[in-house]
């Protein structure tokens, strides 16, 4: 896992965070990122892309408080937020 999410959480002052592709592992119970993510839930609304979670067989271990969205929900997030930043 790279440092993209760690840096995102350290830099962001507000807004919403959507975890896609391999980033969805960070929102699963037992991951090395679990504590950091739970802490971040107090500050940000955090979403994961459900199809990416399902593809990886992790749908049953999502950390409580994280919201799932489908592709339509992904589009909605790009509209309801002023700008969209990708943390590659």
């Amino acid at each position: 896992m790279n440092s993209a999410l760690e840096t995102c959480l350290n830099v962001a002052s507000g807004g919403e965070i959507l975890l896609i592709e391999d980033a969805v592992y960070a929102a699963t119970i037992g991951s090395a990122f679990e504590a950091r993510l739970r802490e971040a839930l107090g500050k940000f609304k955090i979403y994961v892309l459900q199809p990416d979670l399902d593809a990886r067989g992790m749908g049953d271990r999502l950390i409580a408080g994280v919201t799932t969205v489908d592709y339509g929900g992904f589009v909605d997030l790009t509209i309801t937020n002023n700008s969209c930043q990708s943390w590659l």
Binding site: T28, A32, D54, R56, G57, G59, R61
Partner: protein
């Protein structure tokens, strides 16, 4: 017939996010077709490749996890998973889609030392 060599494929990446996991599987099958002594190691995020319950319809990508179950038909039966990697991801042997041998890092290292060829993905 040329001599049989011991090949180990070391998988350290999660499936789907990159092409490495699928490419490794392709090369494993090719190597097995040449009647070589093949073993697979799953380390770090590579253990996610074997997670049960993968459903890829939503991302319109081929779910290749059932292929691990077919490996025994190619006489590929040595699958090793590193315990530390499972633990760090909240996973256990029961979460694996196929029977595996769980090894410590030290045991995995010893096994790597016995190989003629180690290929990393």
């Amino acid at each position: 017939m040329s001599e049989i060599k011991k090949f180990m494929f070391v998988n350290r990446k999660a499936p789907y996010g990159t092409i490495y996991a699928l490419e490794s599987l392709e090369v494993v099958l090719i190597t097995a077709a040449f009647d070589q002594d093949v073993s697979l190691a799953f380390v770090d995020d590579g253990v996610y490749q074997l997670k049960k319950g993968q459903q890829t319809k939503g991302i319109e990508t081929k779910n290749f996890s059932p292929t691990y179950r077919a490996l025994e038909d190619y006489d590929v039966e040595k699958l090793y998973v590193m315990k530390e990697s499972l633990d760090a991801r909240g996973l256990s042997e029961d979460d694996m889609v196929v029977p595996v041998t769980v090894l410590s890092g030290a045991e995995m290292g010893a096994l790597m030392d016995q190989q003629d060829v180690v290929l990393s993905f």
